[in-house]
Each structure stands twice: as C-alpha cells, then as structure tokens.
C-alpha cells in the first residue's frame, strides 16, 4: 500500500540520489532511461522510470517499487544488476520511498523502450549471488549517515571496487578508480584539509576550496541535490563526511 507521499520531498531526495543521471540518456527525454554506465563487466543502461504503462513504471504499484529499491528485485522476481545501487537504497525508510514514489507519479510518461545491457561476461553472471549477499534494510541511521549512504550513496562512486565490482567495504570513500568509477577520496582523512564551511561552499555553490568548479557527475548532484537540502540536513551530511 502506498503511503501518502509528498512529490516535492521526493524530488529533492531524487536530486540528492542523482537518479536522473543514470535514468536519462545523454540528450534524451528526462527520466526515460538510456544513460550508459560502462564497467569492465558490461555496459548497463538506466531504465525508464516514467509512468509509461508499457516501457516505464506505469503498471507498477508502490509495493513493486519498494521491493525494487529495498531488495533489488523486479516485479517478476528477477534480480537487478547492482549497477542499480539498491544495496544503498535498501536503507531508505518507507516514508521516503513513499515520497519518491509520489514524485515519480508526477513525471510525464515517455514510451521509450529500455535498452538491454551489453557485454556482460557469462562468468560474471555466475557471480551475481555474491553481489546479492547484502544486508537488507532498513537499518536505523543518524540523519547525516542516512543522507550520505541510503539516499546519496556517495560510496557507490567514491570507493574502490573488487574485480567483480563489489565495493571494498573496508576502504569505503577512499576514492573510486578506473575501470569502474573515477572519483576522489572523500573519507575523513582525505577531507582533513576541508573545513565544514569548505564543504558547505561545495554543496551550495559547487566550488571547491581551490576555487575550482568540479564537473563530472558531481555538479549535477550539487545543483539538484545538496544545494536543495535544508541547512540542517546539509550540516548533518557534512558532519557525517567529516567523521561524525
């Protein structure tokens, strides 16, 4: 059963989660899928999240959505590849899933068929059970950790990965490297030279302490996510990044 969600809150959560980045093709209609996530284990294409009944989520109910986000399973029961970071989303509360679902209902339906993933080596298919070994949520988290791990999933890009592409859990946030994601280290040690105010400047204006404006995926996360957080939430996220 769907909770009464607020689409505006859902939109802000979706911005911090950076959902549109993977679920929109370069230059394509927003939220209709098609961005390519290239990994050494195949190229994955974000799916159509608009309410189109045939190609999007139009035929889904809230329970289907919650199962996808929390368990990484499609309505027909098949497991999603974890390029879709459900191992992070599993900790989203029912309330926030309700807001996200309400937001997704407001999108314009786009009849764009999903693009099949490409080049996944058969040997890797056998490894999916290892991928699926994750702790299912929701786990209670303090606000900053919740924003940084369940919604924002910073670690998905900012952590090194093993050969099958699993995050090296003991090295979370120590920087992502080719051939997976390329993103700087943001663990408390790496951020030692950054004050809380430096992080606030990055998260509101997009500028790093050296006066640079980093591009890449992060600028969109800033514009649509961190800049739209309440001051209290942004402060909580920063405190979490700084190590509590």
């Amino acid at each position: 059963m769907a909770l009464a969600g607020d689409p505006a809150i859902g939109a802000a959560l979706a911005g911090l989660g950076g959902c549109a980045a993977c679920h929109t093709a370069d230059g394509g209609p927003p939220w209709a899928g098609g961005h390519a996530v290239e990994t050494p284990r195949g190229t994955f294409y974000g799916s159509n999240l608009t309410p189109d009944p045939e190609h999007g989520l139009g035929a889904w109910g809230f329970d289907d959505f919650r199962r996808a986000m929390r368990e990484g399973r499609a309505p027909d029961g098949h497991a999603y590849w974890p390029a879709f970071p459900y191992t992070s989303f599993t900790n989203l509360t029912d309330e926030d899933l309700g807001h996200l679902w309400a937001f997704l209902q407001t999108l314009e339906p786009v009849a764009r068929p999903d693009q099949p993933h490409e080049g996944i080596p058969p040997r890797w298919q056998l490894q999916v059970f290892r991928w699926r070994a994750f702790h299912e949520g929701p786990e209670p988290l303090d606000r900053g950790a919740y924003l940084g791990t369940a919604v924002g999933h910073c670690r998905e890009c900012h952590s090194p990965r093993t050969w099958i592409g699993r995050i090296r859990t003991r090295h979370e946030l120590e920087g992502g490297h080719a051939p997976f994601t390329v993103a700087p280290a943001i663990d408390p040690e790496a951020l030692a030279g950054w004050s809380a105010d430096d992080l606030d400047t990055l998260f509101t204006l997009g500028m790093s302490p050296d006066g640079d404006f980093p591009g890449g995926g992060m600028s969109r996360i800033v514009d649509e996510g961190t800049a739209k957080l309440s001051d209290a939430d942004r402060a909580a996220l920063i405190a979490w990044l700084k190590g509590g």
Partner: protein, 145 residues
C-alpha cells in the same frame, strides 16, 4: 632591446605546446582565485564588496581570450600534462559555445558588480559557476586525487 627582441621572437615562431598548456593552466588558476575571493565576499565572510568589480574584471579578462589558448597541437595526444579532453578539438563548436557562456557570465557579473545589487550579483555569480562546471563537465578530465 632584449625585451623587444624576445617579443619579436615570439611573434615569429609559434609558442611551444608545453608553454601554451602552462599558460592556460595559470589563466585557469587566476580565474579560480578570483572566484575564491568572490565567494568569500558573496558569502559574507569578508566585507570587501568594493573589490567585486575588480574580481569580475579579472574573470572577464581570462574569459575574453580563453578559447585562443587551445590551438591545434596542444591536446592530450600531443602534450602530457594537459587536463583538456580531446573533445575540445573534436567538438570545437560546442567548446566555443562553452567559452562564450563563460564570457557572457563574467560580463553579467561585472555588470552586476558595477550596479552593486546583491541579488543580481548572486545570480550572476551562480551563472559564472555554472559556466565553469558546464565546460569542465564535457571538456576537462575528471579529477582523481
């Protein structure tokens, strides 16, 4: 006399690619420093609103000639230490559009600073930041510290 001779020499021969790359790095650093100072002012960390026009002028000066600092032969295929992507040259018209956005945004900041209206300054400042990001998104290699 020496100075004149050097100037003449530089106009007679094309600059070495490494020197062009170094020069454009410095120009970007100048822009970054102006942005950093501007941020401190617009965030209200320092009462130096009277300096905004000078920072805006500095940014405008960098923007005005920035596109000229990417001649053929100074891309990642020719020079080691550049963070410019090959797309600067392969998608030249898009790059030129991004540089134009940088020029327009810095002019808007200079205009707003001259008028001294806080809201217009903030809006223009945001536009400059967007032009930086917009270009870095597509034409600069991603940082890996």
């Amino acid at each position: 006399m020496t100075t004149i001779a050097l100037l003449l020499a530089s106009s007679a021969f094309a600059s070495a690619p490494e020197d062009v790359v170094q020069y454009r790095h410095v120009q970007m650093e100048i822009a970054a420093k102006h942005m950093k100072s501007t941020t401190a002012i617009v965030k209200g960390k320092i009462e130096r609103k009277q300096d905004l026009a000078a920072h805006a002028a500095g940014l405008q000066a960098v923007a005005a000639t920035f596109g000229e600092l990417f001649p053929e032969g100074t891309g990642p295929d020719k020079v080691k230490d550049t963070e410019a992507r090959a797309e600067v040259w392969s998608k030249r018209s898009e790059f030129d559009t991004a540089v134009k956005a940088f020029q327009d945004a810095t002019k808007a900041l200079a205009d707003a600073a001259a008028k001294g209206e806080d809201e217009a300054i903030m809006a223009a400042f945001g536009k400059v930041g967007k032009s930086c990001k917009g270009c870095h998104d597509n034409f600069k290699v991603e940082d890996e510290h």
